[in-house]
């Protein structure tokens, strides 16, 4: 379940920001480790909403700092 989400998220990260799928591991920070900027985070959030059928309010997006944060958000809200 969490592996499926991680794989799906990795696909999005690769498409939007060119992150190698192997690098998209839970402990990685989007901005610090994966070099994802704020506008790309918005694109990633939109893609996550489409792919996983969740809604990410703007005030929640700021709390999603790592790949692991995103995975648990998706798990909780799916």
């Amino acid at each position: 379940m969490s592996e499926d989400i991680q794989a799906g998220l990795a696909e999005i990260l690769e498409e939007v920001a060119g992150v190698a799928p192997a690098d998209a591991t839970p402990e990685k920070s989007f901005t610090e480790d994966l070099d994802v900027d704020s506008l790309s985070m918005v694109e990633i959030a939109t893609a996550v909403e489409d792919k996983f059928g969740v809604a990410i309010p703007d005030d929640e997006l700021g709390n999603i700092k790592t790949v692991g944060d995103a995975i648990s958000f998706i798990q909780k809200n799916k």
């Binding site: 939007v16 920001a17 060119g18 506008l39 790309s40 918005v42 694109e43 939109t46």
Partner: protein, 409 residues
Amino acid sequence: MTDVVVTGLGATTPLGGDVASTWDALLAGRSGVSRITDDWAKEFPAQLVARLAQEPAEQIDRVRARRLDRSQQVAVIAAEQAWAASGAAGAGVDPLRIAVVFGTGIGGALTLLGQDDVLEEKGPKRVSPFTIPMLMPNGPAAAVGLAVGARGGVHAPVSACASGAEAIRWGLDLLRFDRADVVLVGGAEACVHPLPMAGFAAMRAMSTRNDEPERASRPFDKARDGFVLGEGAAALVLERADSARARGAQVHARLAGAGATADGYDLVAPHPEGEGAGRAIAAALRDAGLSPSDIGHVNAHATSTPVGDTAEAAAIRDSVGDHVLVTATKSQTGHLLGAAGALESVFTILALRDQVVPATANLDDPDDDAAVQALDIVRREPRKASLTAAVNDSFGFGGHNIALVFTTA
């Protein structure tokens, strides 16, 4: 006065993905014009376009490309070619002394129109967060500035089809005022889309010779009926002659002078006798300290519209004289709007370097207009010539006129 030289050239055009292939295709007389086969064009009066010979996707990383409008992609491609060719990157130039001036006529029209479709179909939440940076008209300049790490100033002149030439003039001024040590200048355009096509067609500005794409752009010819929209970009690296020579840079030409005027006549129609255009050329000659007899070649703006070409012919005849070898390279490249002045400056520099003037394609029957008849317009095949100085002029809707004078290195 500060001596300014050109040390790098770059381009991606309807004739080729770089300067060398573009120049070879130009001299070989190849056309970049084709008929649009997309369904949307079927009902359009003008269905011709000069698309890029090489898609940007082949020259630029996918992830980088997806956050750049097509006009920004071509800007970056041409600019990086020029930058690499100049060797400035390895010469230890202080980033605070590197400036960029890059113009566009239309800006990120493809992004604007594409995201409007998204808005209509899917709503505001699906509009890309990159919409604004991709559509803003300073986008090509900003993208180029980031690409080369320019921190001495990034500027974006917008003067329709004179934008690329205006960028070059602006670069010259920056060096003369000692605002920078190296300036990367140029122009970019990529707006092949139904809306701009319909808008230009509504002005009756575009050729409707749909059955003969390669013969449609025919500057100065009696049967010309409008321009063909082209896409692409061109870039030049400018620096002071002393510092360029000190670092052993290859010097392609001198940018000897520039002139800028406004018609003050009509929003889009050129002055019929090319008054403002002629004044721009005369101002550029004065700026360069040259007299008309010094000029051997003019790369004309000549877009293949009925009124524009005769007005320009009068301007050239009256400001430079009838001894110059004139060419109109839009006959093969189409009209790259905000990139035209930059690309045609590259052609002017290469003409000086190779001592050859490219031919004006499709000039089968020169217009009866007295000024057109008076000029020596090179046609059928390129002409060898002994050239020391040449002019490139550009004009834009709004009455903007820019002339640039280049001399041999």
